[in-house]
């Protein structure tokens, strides 16, 4: 009844929220959704940039080609390794750093500020820096390992197909762990101290406190950060591109990099888009999980 009696909301007030949202929505549509639709559209065409007059609709031919393309499978395998090692490694390192930074010690503020440096540096700078660290002639890594007698001859980390991908994974782990550290640190500060005091009174050891209070307290943050990182790491090609360009051979090709090289260097936008679209479908599961979490948090 009361709802019926309430004065009608004026049209201007009903329209206002949409009017205020529309610039953001329009921009998102223009710079996110339009290119996405364009990529899907291009993936269904024969579209090679240096033959501008040819733009034939070929249905799913590019996708069929991808499935029969051995480089597609090599790249997919590398992408799985890339995500499966990088993200957990970043998370564990981030967790350890956050636990450390959560302790009381002198200059803690400075340490918290410094730890963010790898995250704040541009990827290209990081990639070039690590290329020098790994250099087989002058690199500091080989020099240290040789001095410690851990290796007998310099290892060409980035030119050796057995080590190249893992060398880049280490670089990306170093670059990305501060993100986890900062997120987890914020999460740690949200866990009430009284829980630990109560647990201590009950005689819980440090490990049990960590296992039963800290970890459950961080679960939400860890989940969100991990999902976000999976999506970012999966798509990140800048560091690989600068460090090896995908080489030697196909040793450091990941799917997004393969799509990029096809489109940008090979100028084959049809096939490149098909690769990108296929990879998006693979990633979609993680994206949906993340969106559901994000939606639930807002709700």
């Amino acid at each position: 009844m009361s709802a019926l009696q309430a004065p009608p909301v004026p049209l201007s007030r009903r329209v206002l929220p949409y009017a205020m949202l529309s610039p953001a929505v329009l921009v998102t549509l223009a710079i996110v959704f339009l290119p996405m639709i364009q990529a899907v559209w291009m993936s269904l065409h024969d579209y090679v940039l240096f033959r501008p007059r040819v733009f034939d609709f070929v249905w799913f031919k590019n996708f069929q080609t991808a499935l029969a393309d051995p480089v597609f499978w090599i790249s997919l395998r590398h992408t799985v390794i890339w995500i499966a090692i990088t993200v957990p490694a970043q998370m564990l390192l981030g967790l350890a750093t956050a636990l450390l930074l959560n302790q009381e010690f002198p200059w803690r503020g400075l340490a918290r500020a410094l730890v963010i440096i790898p995250w704040a540096l541009p990827s290209v700078v990081i990639a070039l820096m690590w290329v020098w660290i790994y250099d087989s002639n002058y690199g500091v890594l080989n020099d240290l390992l040789l001095r410690m007698n851990l290796i007998t001859a310099s290892v060409p980390w980035l030119a050796n197909p057995d080590t190249a991908l893992y060398a880049i994974i280490l670089t990306l782990t170093w670059q990305g762990f501060p993100f986890f550290a900062v997120m987890i640190l914020a999460g740690l500060q949200g866990i009430p101290k009284s829980y630990y005091e109560a647990a201590a009174i009950d005689g819980a050891s440090n490990f049990r406190q960590f296992w039963h209070i800290t970890l459950p307290g961080l679960a939400g943050v860890l989940m969100t950060a991990t999902l976000l990182r999976i999506i970012w790491v999966a798509n990140s090609i800048d560091v690989i591109f600068v460090m090896t360009g995908g080489g030697p051979g196909y040793s450091t090709y990941t799917l997004p990099l393969y799509a990029f090289i096809n489109a940008r260097t090979g100028l084959n936008y049809g096939y490149g888009s098909a690769l990108a679209v296929s990879f998006t479908l693979v990633l979609l599961g993680f994206v949906i999980l993340y969106l559901r979490r994000a939606g639930r948090n807002i709700g």
Partner: protein, 408 residues
């Protein structure tokens, strides 16, 4: 007081409108180029050109070499290309296929500077249909750099043949300080993009080997690639980083003594001499399998069909290939001028490097003048060579990949 203020306002308005009108009248030529060296000489040439041609403004942009063609092709397709650019001959077929080039024949014929261009250069840079779309601006020929001090120390002479080259490379690869580590490698091989010139000297020199059907997959063709792979995998005369090495790495390694030989052109000679003095010299690449093959390194300028003001763009590119300006351009790039006047007066390079260049001219070649060459140089060769070097595929499989690119 009021009059003064009025006068000032009128003067300001007049100035503003003059500037605006000037800006509207001035034609801008957007020009892309790539220079390795950091000290950029383009600004002087641009200033000189703008002083000689009032009303034309040149916006010259140095694009990083590694992504130069990626950027050029995508900008052409996107309609954001420059008006003119520095281009290599192996890009000509693809640019023609994209219908991106402005024919230059009529302008060339009407140009007084045409007679100044060295005789064979306009023939070399013509398209397959005989038309001209390129105006030469510099050239080089690749040759073999070697360390005279290291050769003298071991009593070696510069290699004349592939066999001598291999023997010398093996002898030069050594541990000089007794720590059990190899300190010097015989040859700095470029396994990354741009390294096809190195490979070609060892492979395309062989009798009957080129890019025709079955030529690379013939016994001689496979033997050539196998020779390169063996140098790395069996003889170990390349630095271990060779599969990924590019221009910076091979030049850096040669200058600091990590390698005793490498292949490049006169463009790097001044830099080499500055570091190594008399300890560096050059000879033509060795004879392999009955012949010699080296790369003719060309660089021309071209006007794109999308250019706003083609006359202004022509004025600018013809300015760069005119005597004196062409010399200034080549002093900056360290390569060789294309005009007769500048060539006659050329004294930038030490004589031994000019001699090696001239001695290499008779067997200097270009890659096939077809669209596939762009893919060969940018993707197919680097990936196949790297895979062969790291043992993922055989030399024969590598050659088959290249053969199937050219002979689909």
């Amino acid at each position: 007081m009021i009059t003064t203020r009025m006068t000032r306002r009128v003067a300001a308005a007049l100035m503003a409108s003059t500037l605006l009108a000037g800006a509207a009248n001035a034609q801008t030529v957007n020009f892309w180029y790539h220079f390795d060296n950091a000290d950029n000489p383009m600004s002087d040439l641009v200033a000189k050109f703008e002083a000689e041609n009032p009303g034309i403004k040149v916006n010259a942009e140095n694009i990083p070499w590694n992504s130069y063609y990626d950027q050029l092709y995508t900008s052409l397709a996107a309609g954001t290309a420059p008006d003119a650019a520095l281009v290599k001959l192996n890009a000509l077929p693809r640019l023609l296929e994209m219908e991106a080039l402005e024919p230059l024949d009529a302008r060339l014929d009407a140009w007084e500077g045409k007679a100044e261009i060295q005789d064979n250069l306009l023939t070399l840079t013509a398209a397959a249909d005989g038309g001209h779309y390129y105006l030469p601006v510099q050239y080089v020929v690749l040759y073999l750099y070697y360390r005279t001090d290291m050769f003298a120390e071991l009593g070696l002479t510069p290699p004349e043949t592939c066999e001598q080259f291999r023997d010398a490379a093996i002898a030069l690869t050594r541990d000089t300080n007794g720590d059990g580590q190899t300190d010097v490698y015989g040859f700095g091989f470029r396994g990354g993009r741009g390294g096809h010139d190195h490979w070609a000297s060892f492979v395309l020199s062989r009798e009957g080997v080129g890019f025709g059907p079955g030529e690379l997959t013939s016994a001689a063709g496979v033997e050539g690639s196998q020779f390169v792979v063996d140098l790395f995998r069996t003889d170990k005369v390349f630095p271990p980083s060779a599969p990924n090495d590019g221009f910076q790495e091979i030049i850096g390694a040669f200058k600091n003594g990590t390698t005793a030989m490498t292949i490049h052109h006169i463009g790097s000679s001044a830099d080499m001499v500055a570091t190594l003095g008399d300890n560096v010299s050059a000879v033509p690449v060795p004879e392999c399998g009955g012949g010699r093959w080296t790369s003719f390194g060309d660089e021309s300028t071209a006007i794109f069909s999308s250019a706003q003001d083609k006359d202004a763009a022509w004025k600018w590119i013809s300015f760069l290939s005119s005597p004196e300006n062409n010399a200034a351009f080549n002093v900056a790039t360290g390569q060789l001028p294309v005009t007769k006047t500048d060539s006659a007066a050329w004294n930038l390079h030490a004589e031994r490097f000019v001699d090696a260049t001239v001695a290499s001219l008779p067997f200097a070649n270009l890659l096939p003048n077809v669209s596939e060459t762009a893919d060969f140089a940018n993707t197919v060769w680097p990936v196949a060579m790297q895979r062969a070097l790291i043992g993922e595929i055989s030399a024969e499989a590598m050659n088959t990949e290249i053969d199937s690119l050219y002979n689909k």
